[in-house]
């Protein structure tokens, strides 16, 4: 090697080879070459040969916001996964994600026994899996049992605990003698009739029947591929869309299922879902035309962008805002002085300027004084709870023995690291300082540390006085809110509240079959928990802020999953 340039060339080749080596190991080199033009303009490939080939393929480009952890219905947990699997797997019933009504899906009708314990669903017989097998009641029985089996380790098994023996089986060692999955309260009476037996009467079971956790799954595919059964190529589904490609960390591709029983009503042929976590990038891609929709993930667009979008004559027309069934609150450690005094908690709740929070800090959403937003069954309308009242807040704090904050110790508000939570924490700190003249320390922790640090086993000395949590609906019923989140024994009870009349009413409401009486009970519970005892200070219901191109006709869901099959793209 007597020439430096030769050496240089050698180095370049060396680095290239190294990188190529890595590259080759990971990616099969031969990939079908797609035309360089924008994918939306591309002529339809062989995906939809049944229709007239000349017709243009209708494509929607959207973003999920993050990687779904698992799209296995029995295991799914995060919003990203629920949005992804919504198009693939049908439920017994479906929640209308705008009105929150329960509608028929696989089940065309259902019956409840006199005592409210036995639910029978009658299913339609014209639905098939993508491999041609019919979708039957046995698939549902299999799915429910699979979700409850301890070895499945489903994170959502607890929503099914209302089914007879479910909790016992789920918490029993598989090898023990008492373990018997067949005692579970689910049974396929024939191919198209499935019957559930409950632990106690629960009128909200109809809402539960729409949840992804108990949607039918294909036993034969799961047994063939094991945990890889949801991979593209393996997966067998039954909904309007099929998973075609999943490039981890990049995007998912869904194509229309031609054998879907209502395929004629589905207009969009292909849905390209990006996985862009940064919302600024999402908006930039929307504006450059690479996305048709921005903001369908669980978050809200950043307030900086909302301000600009609202000032822009074109973009402001494409912005859609509305409420989501989701609430953010300040939790209080009710056993830790000075927050053992309800007056202090009332003062801190009343001192939160909810209007400012929603308008200036978050940029979207609705001020909240109660936990469950209006629209959830049983949520009081108008809202109950403690309203923002700065003078009253001062008075309450004075009544508690701290006039103008004098003598009040420095307390801690803890939240998990995120840009929005940081802004909210800093805003809360400033509001409490200004109104109550108290010093609040901010503590930001990464999520796992945060959530592990406020559980009921944490010694009181290590607990912050206040912390941030939130809740999003799994199904549209107050039971999912006040009972499953704040009940003194049935929930995690982060606030460490003692059992009171409110908990009794919440339990009673769960068993009550008369819907008017239930509503009354829940109104009491909300008023007690957040107006009198102040176990937490709900301060805003999160909202959606979605940018959608004018050619996208769609619904804007208050309620979790998006339904692409009902949307249209008219270019």
């Amino acid at each position: 090697m007597n020439n430096p340039w030769k050496f240089l060339t050698a180095m370049v080749i060396l680095t290239t080879l190294l990188s190529a080596l890595v590259g080759c190991g990971a990616q099969p080199p031969a990939q079908p070459v797609e035309p360089a033009a924008e994918a939306t303009e591309a002529p339809a490939p062989a995906a939809a040969p049944t229709e007239e080939a000349a017709e243009k393929e209708v494509v929607l480009h959207t973003n999920l916001g993050a990687e779904p952890a698992s799209i296995d219905p029995n295991l799914a947990q995060d919003t990203f996964a629920i949005n992804s699997l919504e198009g693939m797997f049908l439920g017994l019933t479906n929640i209308n994600n705008v009105t929150a009504e329960i509608e028929p899906e696989l089940a065309t009708r259902w019956e409840v026994s006199e005592d409210g314990l036995v639910w029978t669903f009658y299913m339609r017989d014209d639905v098939t899996w993508t491999d041609g097998n019919p979708v039957t009641a046995h698939d549902i029985e299999y799915s429910v049992k699979r979700a409850i089996r301890p070895e499945t380790a489903s994170p959502y098994a607890y929503v099914l605990y209302i089914i007879k023996e479910a909790q016992v089986i789920n918490q029993t060692d598989v090898s023990s003698d008492t373990y018997d999955i067949d005692t579970l309260g689910v049974k396929a009476l024939d191919d198209y009739t499935v019957q559930f037996t409950l632990e106690a009467p629960a009128s909200y079971f109809l809402a539960i029947s729409s949840l992804w956790t108990l949607r039918p799954v294909p036993q034969w595919t799961i047994e063939e591929y094991g945990k890889d059964w949801t991979e593209p190529g393996n997966v067998v589904s039954n909904g309007p869309y099929m998973l075609k490609e999943w490039k981890y960390g990049e995007h998912l591709t869904f194509v229309k299922n031609p054998d879907y029983y209502a395929a004629d009503n589905v207009q969009i042929d292909r849905v390209e879902v990006d996985i862009i976590t940064d919302q600024f990038t999402e908006v930039a891609l929307y504006e450059s035309g690479e996305l048709d929709i921005a903001g369908d993930g669980p978050g809200t667009l950043p307030s900086e962008e909302i301000a600009r979008i609202k000032a822009d004559p074109v973009l402001s027309q494409e912005l859609h805002e509305g409420p989501r069934a989701s609430t953010t609150y300040v939790g209080f450690t009710m056993t830790k002085p000075p927050f053992d005094d309800p007056l202090v908690r009332k003062a801190f709740s009343a001192a939160i300027d909810r209007e400012t929070m929603v308008r200036d800090v978050v940029g979207s959403g609705v001020p909240a004084t109660q936990f469950a937003p209006v629209g959830i069954f049983g949520a009081p309308d108008p809202e109950v709870g403690i309203e923002t009242d700065l003078e009253q807040a001062k008075a309450w704090l004075a009544e508690a023995g701290y006039p103008n904050g004098e003598g009040f110790p420095t307390v801690t508000y803890r939240y998990f690291a995120s840009s929005l939570e940081e802004a909210l924490g800093e805003a809360l700190q400033a509001m409490w300082k200004e109104t109550l003249n108290v010093d609040v320390n901010l503590e930001s922790q990464e999520w796992p540390v945060f959530i592990a640090g406020i559980n009921p086993e944490t010694p009181l000395g290590e607990m912050p006085e206040m912390w941030r949590l939130g809740w999003g609906a799994d199904y549209p019923d107050e039971n999912n809110w006040v009972y499953e989140v704040f009940h003194c024994t049935a929930s995690t009870n982060y606030s460490r509240a003692e059992c009171t009349e409110a908990d009794e009413s919440a339990q009673q409401a769960a068993l009550e079959t008369d819907s008017e009486k239930r509503k009354e009970l829940y109104e009491q519970v909300e008023a007690l928990m957040f107006g009198e005892e102040v176990r937490a200070a709900p301060y805003y219901h999160r909202g959606y802020t979605i940018l959608a191109k004018p050619y996208v006709q769609r619904s804007y869901p208050t309620f979790a999953p998006v339904n692409w099959d009902t949307w249209r793209v008219e270019k």
Binding site: Q31, E34, K227, G249, W447, A452
Partner: protein, 313 residues
């Protein structure tokens, strides 16, 4: 020569065990686990931990992990319910490697000639100009340059895409359009560093006695420069390529975040905060191996470049 390589590789084994062992213990002793969610009751969390063997003693878990790594398996990712780590990390690594390669190439193509020109024209305006640009280059970090380029070419001028990565199969033009800004962001510092190093090294060599001798012998200046000076001047530059690889690896972490590129770097931070132990371990292993390999490669090239070493071995 071979002995050197074998010794270096043997030395790598204890280092590897130490590095991975420390990371393993560190990660597992962090508070919070991968399945802690506000909605999941503790009993169900324990159930999931048992499914992934997280309830076993730590040393047992480590040994299992080590056994798997030897067979090139990094285990199931906890954040995605058991998807094998390599199934998404390798495509990410491929993207990161491409990005790193373009950045290095950019650095070499700009940095080396600039350094040589500056040294040969020592004291002239060319030298001053190149030196000045180089010091600007080493002073502008990726977290400043990246957003600046993104803003200028992506947002204001709209010439280049603002995010994501294209595969080569998407076409040459989209590929380079996507790769250009990230590669420059990552490569600018490298080229400046290389230019400074090349210039300093060449300047030093040009004043060595043997160069004076060569000139005195009446050799053509061009021959002296290329055959005698440049070759020796490049030795320190080559040794710098090892640490440079490390800089590119960690630099890509930020660049991937700024330009929303699906590379390996971003998995590192997210997997730490989601307590996805196998993914964290895999990234650390891959980084360590690349750095060791780069240093070893540098050592080998070094021997070839330096006749004294070649004779010695």
């Amino acid at each position: 020569m071979l002995r050197v390589i074998v010794r270096r590789l043997l030395w790598f084994l204890p280092v590897f065990c130490l590095v991975t062992g420390i990371t393993f213990v560190t990660m597992h002793s962090l508070p919070g686990g991968p399945f802690d969610k506000e909605k999941t009751p503790p009993a169900l969390v324990e159930q999931m931990e048992a499914v992934f063997g997280l309830d076993r003693p730590l040393h047992e878990q480590y040994l299992t992990w080590l056994g798997n790594v030897v067979r090139l398996r990094f285990g199931p990712s906890l954040a995605s319910r058991g998807r094998p780590v390599e199934s998404f990390l390798l495509p990410g690594l491929s993207v990161s490697a491409q990005l790193g390669m373009w950045a290095m190439l950019f650095g070499l193509l700009i940095g080396l000639p600039a350094g040589i020109v500056a040294a040969l024209g020592h004291g002239t305006w060319l030298d001053h100009g190149a030196t000045f640009v180089a010091i600007l280059g080493v002073s502008i970090p990726a977290i400043v340059l990246g957003p600046l380029l993104y803003w200028l070419f992506g947002l204001e001028l709209g010439w280049l895409p603002v995010a994501k990565w294209a595969e080569l199969s998407d076409g040459i033009v989209p590929y380079f359009k996507h790769a250009l800004l990230p590669a420059i962001t990552l490569g600018a510092g490298i080229s400046a560093m290389l230019a400074r190093l090349t210039r300093a090294s060449l300047l030093q060599v040009l004043h060595e006695d043997y160069i004076r001798v060569a000139h005195a012998k009446g050799l053509a200046p061009r021959v002296v420069t290329t055959r005698h000076a440049l070759r020796n001047a490049l030795i320190p530059v080559v040794t710098y390529l090892g640490p440079l690889t490390a800089a590119v690896l960690t630099g890509s972490l930020v660049v991937e975040q700024i330009f929303a590129i699906p590379g390996m770097g971003r998995y590192f931070v997210t997997s730490i905060s989601s307590r996805d132990y196998p993914t964290v371990m895999a990234v650390v292993v891959i980084y360590s191996v690349i750095i060791v390999a780069a240093n070893l490669g540098v050592d080998i090239v070094y021997v070839f470049l330096d006749p004294r070493r070649r004779d010695a071995s």
